[in-house]
Symmetry: C2
Subunit: 283 residues, 2 copies
Amino acid sequence: MSHSLNFKSEHRCFDGTVAYYSHESQCCRSSMNFAVYLPPQAKIKPVPVLYYLSGLTCTEENFTVKAGAERYAAKYGIMLVIPDTSPRNTGIVEEDETWDLGSGAGFYVDAIADPWKNHYQMYSYIVTELPEIIHHNFNVNVNKTGIFGHSMGGHGALICALRNPEKYRSVSALAPIANPINSPWGQKAFTAYLGKNKDHWYDYDASQLVKKNQLNYPILIDQGLDDPFYQQKQLLPEKFQEVCEQVGQQLILRFHQGYDHGYFMISTFMEDHISYHALYLSD
Amino acid sequence: MSHSLNFKSEHRCFDGTVAYYSHESQCCRSSMNFAVYLPPQAKIKPVPVLYYLSGLTCTEENFTVKAGAERYAAKYGIMLVIPDTSPRNTGIVEEDETWDLGSGAGFYVDAIADPWKNHYQMYSYIVTELPEIIHHNFNVNVNKTGIFGHSMGGHGALICALRNPEKYRSVSALAPIANPINSPWGQKAFTAYLGKNKDHWYDYDASQLVKKNQLNYPILIDQGLDDPFYQQKQLLPEKFQEVCEQVGQQLILRFHQGYDHGYFMISTFMEDHISYHALYLSD
């Protein structure tokens, strides 16, 4: 496997560096893009790594520009890794037909259905391939890895953590799709990527996975009450909460009056999320 | 004069509100757009107002999304007002021909040359018309007004403050065009908006204006040393510093190794800028 990176650009920020890269992904058989924030501490020692998975339509850029996370990552000495939300320009005809499937909408699953299965392997990419790339190229402590995300990426973070208790030390989410098998977005994506047999869907649904595996740390979730997608029952955090209570999974689920689904909500609670991860990732 | 506003959208952020408006500007004879951040304190008392003038090509949106300023405005209880950088869709044929003149490039001057003079009256808009609109529509203390900006907007902030010591209590700038009459950008814009007679240019050049008026507070300026526009001598902060020293104007000019011209630089120093303004604007 090649670990080589194509450097695109970098910018000094809070005494560290925001940088953009692409590389050839073996599991997605495609070029993939990601961004990083390297905190100043990485110059002198291996730093913890915190993956951020973005929501529908995002690229690796939205979070770096809009979330205001660099300030806190610099404070706590944590590297941020922000992958793109899907392969792009794979040649799959349907790839750019709708905003909630294909490009920008990989849903962090390993597709098993045509025409997606040859390229849309986002679960393996996030959990296995990208961490190897990061480990090989940056000064990180792989034993200290956390993950978080927003909306579709909140779903992604939850499933990655719940399926791999040994890989991640912390997980949090902002307005996650917490029960995709019962959400219109999730049903559309899972039907396309995984086929109609719902047995395959359960492996990628946080509210199902938490029945099998519980984590020995609390999961943090924030949800705005003026979020139209929450109101339209795309996100379903109460369903996840209900199962967490049944199985004894610690969950900190906070609802916030007046907040919507966008980056103004995300930026407001960013300090809390990175502080939470720092508790579990710092020395 | 009509003070009525066309509300476009709003988002909860750090317990306050980011909101976007348009209105009919009398002095620009055009619809104008602006954004605000109303801190939570505005619900209970009149709050200070801090104007932020953006750089070339920006709209009222860039700063609200990228600067991370809301956190500090909420902390100090300061309203932010972010005007668009020019009138738009005025019907002037040349308006959208180049990125550094016309739309997105009003340069905060009152144009006196054709074809711009009928609409490009950004100086009067920023100093007089927009503050009346803000005063009429929001719970602000007009006796506590500050101004800052970036690049072209840093130039704008400096000239507004230097020409109106009675109106502004504080001024700061990030990578400002500090001596536009000697900068290629400034020369192009001033020739177009003000004509070839350089007597008119001096009224809009910070390094000239500070010879006439000094402010009884220090001016704060931050400049990245890896900023390509600084290296290309578009910005010329040393010229402004030289004149400030000659006339006894207090100036805090800080250079920062490795930082470029963009919002990653702006966001890094945002806390310092809003803290500086809070010193002069808070109770």
